[in-house]
């Protein structure tokens, strides 16, 4: 399959699922009627539902899917490990801790981008710890163990903060921060997340050639003239910004960054740089599909995205671990 054809197919898939997401909801309204109400403003409640509830939800699914797919592909390329994924190795839960800390301390109200910025800082600490503990050469199992420890610690601290909150509803939201959801988000969240996410996407888009060179190992990449410490910094900033902003508005959604590169890698012939663009689109498609699924399975009940993603992703990660076990 040619790369151009793959990208066109994925783009078409994203467009299709975007439309499916727009017409999925509790309201008993036909798809055609919904889309007409979205485009032509009749001032009625359906236009309000389409423009203020469903449109931002679908846009956020695309943005977050791009962020998670891109981050997964980039981290896997850098660590040369197919299990490196923001959710699995604790980067998302570090970001969630940063976001919860900002919300409960009131820092989130300090300036417009304070919430995603705080989540970014949490993610920076998470990514830096992972790169330090299980950087290149650290091996697959060091990475997973470091991820387990980091996830456990940050999840515990997040729970503690939410339990300490004066708000009686906060403690019930531990599951939102651990599992993620796009229910009842608005354009406020889109505008808040977009600037920081876009910065992350641009940074990660610049890592392509370096990741490509890393396919053969670090010495080979260095002998090709690539500055690996600079690549590490760009990767750290890119992953932290995109995962941080995504988690700040939708909670930690796992496995997207694992499933998408796993499925698409054979289709790009193992090329790490081509995998970046393909995974960005694939991530958007997967998250849109998952967000349609949670609304179809339990309408109006806010089933968490992480539930669907874990059902799809956990078997794949177990399979990857099994395969690596065979190699060593």
């Amino acid at each position: 399959m040619s790369f151009r054809f793959l990208i066109l197919s994925l783009t078409a898939l994203v467009a299709l699922l975007f439309a499916a997401s727009l017409v999925t909801g509790v309201a008993p309204v036909g798809p055609g009627e919904s889309l007409v109400a979205l485009i032509s403003d009749d001032g009625g409640p359906l236009t309000m539902v389409m423009r203020e509830i469903r449109l931002p939800r679908a846009i956020l699914a695309v943005m977050i899917g791009v962020s998670l797919g891109l981050s997964g592909a980039a981290m896997q390329g850098f660590l040369r490990n197919p299990l490196a994924e923001p959710g699995l190795i604790g980067v998302s839960s570090s970001a969630a801790l940063g976001a919860v800390l900002a919300l409960q301390s009131g820092f989130a109200m300090a300036f417009t981008l304070a919430l995603p910025f705080a989540a970014l800082l949490g993610a920076v600490i998470g990514v830096a710890m992972i790169l330090f503990l299980a950087g290149p050469g650290g091996g697959a199992f060091t990475l997973i163990l470091a991820g387990i420890a980091l996830s456990a610690l940050t999840a515990a601290l997040t729970s503690l903060l939410l339990n300490l909150s004066p708000n009686p509803f906060a403690a019930n939201e531990i599951v939102f921060w651990m599992m993620g959801s796009l229910a009842d988000r608005s354009f406020d969240h889109v505008w808040m997340a977009l600037p920081i996410m876009a910065f992350g996407w641009l940074a990660l888009a610049r890592t392509g050639r370096g990741l490509e060179a890393l396919t053969l190992g670090e010495d080979a990449a260095a002998s090709m003239g690539f500055d690996l410490s600079r690549l590490r910094l760009v990767l750290l900033g890119g992953v932290a910004a995109s995962v941080g902003a995504a988690t700040a508005v939708a909670g930690a959604i796992g496995f997207v960054g694992l499933v998408v590169p796993h499925v698409l890698r054979p289709l790009v012939g193992g090329s790490s740089s081509r995998l970046l663009l393909a995974s960005a689109l694939g991530g958007a498609a997967l998250l849109l599909a998952a967000d349609v699924a949670v609304r179809l399975v339990l309408p109006g009940r806010d089933l968490k995205l992480g539930v669907v993603m874990a059902l799809v992703g956990a078997p794949i990660s177990l399979h990857l671990i099994w395969r690596m076990r065979g190699q060593s």
């Binding site: 197919p82 490509e212 396919t215 010495d219 080979a220 002998s223 090709m224 003239g225 012939g269 193992g270």
Partner: protein, 102 residues
């Protein structure tokens, strides 16, 4: 024409000198095999010659800026297995990355 000149190259791991005082010249058209038992310093010699690790003495390649050096020397190390399947075409193309420029 000389492609690589090493003069008195010495590389250490901690207090232990892995290479000491290696001098060598490689010219156009030469094909050289470097033989030694495990731990003899074959890989260390390659890395020191390319400037991928700190070393005393002179290497004509190590003093070049990385992007220029990359157009004159390529190295395919004995790395652990590639983490995922890569097509042969793509793998071969990787070697030309440095030459194609950025």
């Amino acid at each position: 024409m000389t492609l690589l000149t090493l003069e008195n190259l010495t590389a250490r791991r901690g207090p232990c000198a892995v290479l000491s005082g290696i001098s060598l010249q490689v010219g156009t058209g030469e094909c050289i095999g470097l033989i030694g038992p495990n731990g003899a310093g074959k890989t260390t010699l390659m890395r020191a010659a390319l400037g991928l690790m700190r070393a005393e003495g002179q290497s004509s390649l190590a003093v070049l800026p990385p992007s220029v050096r990359a157009t004159q020397a390529a190295w395919l190390p004995q790395s652990p297995e590639i983490a995922w399947p890569v097509t042969v075409r793509h793998l071969v193309a990787l070697g030309a990355m440095a030459r194609r420029g950025s």
